[in-house]
Amino acid sequence: MHGFANPARFLRIARWLTPLLFGLGLLLAGGALAWGLTQVPPDRLMGETVRILFIHVPSAWLGMAGWTTIAIASLVELVWRHPLAGIAARAAAVPGATFTAICLATGSIWARPTWGTWWVWDGRLTSFLVLLFLYFGYIALAGAAQKDAAGGAGGSRVIAIFGLVGAINIPIINRSVVWWNSLHQPPSITMGKSSIDATFLVPLLIAALGFSLLFGGVVLARMRTLLAEIQTEARLRRKAIA
């Protein structure tokens, strides 16, 4: 893992990997969405609205995956002082928040024709809304710490601790439909088992793969952005001192 701690080595890999992840992700996600929109038959209970599955479920997975990435990277940053771990954590925040917002919006649109309401304050929806607010807090905190760091102070550990503490919400989201009564259905896909028919499952898994690759591409692009900003700042400072 420490082999990737060198930013120059990371950049060598990221330069060819970023466009590859963007291209493959867009291709797979776009293809799966077109498949879901035109080729999948309507569901017996949900009718045509079942097609929302192909955008709602990958967004939900990536909303949670984003914070899981933040938590793991924060742990690596705190324990091993990995120089790129903090940057990886910050890079996952905006894409994670975006997919969480997409999940909430598409879920609300799906709820209206199937549940008869746009929103209910149940365990799943509320804990997912809390996740969005946690992302907002993390992004604001990381932005403030970046400004402090430019002035000489360091808030990196505080952000990492916030990233770790916020991870408590992930198992709550996951188990919410089991622990509390909810209009939301229980988990359809668990380890090695699925109650979804292959007609829906195959395009769903392709969509999830495509969106995940795109998510990876965006995280790499954000890491490259943050690294470039740090390097620019350091160079301008050196020149100002010289």
């Binding site: 009718g47 609205t49 929302i52 894409p95 919006a105």
Partner: protein
Amino acid sequence: MAEGLDQWQFVIAAYAVGVAGTLSLAGWAWTAMRRAERRRDEARDR
């Protein structure tokens, strides 16, 4: 489904939100990266 709503309107709205959000995110991340790396290279050459 008893209300007789047009289900396709909800499907199209959800796809529009999802596709627009994802493409905006990807476009913003890509252009911000190019801009930041160009600024870094300019600072190096200056």
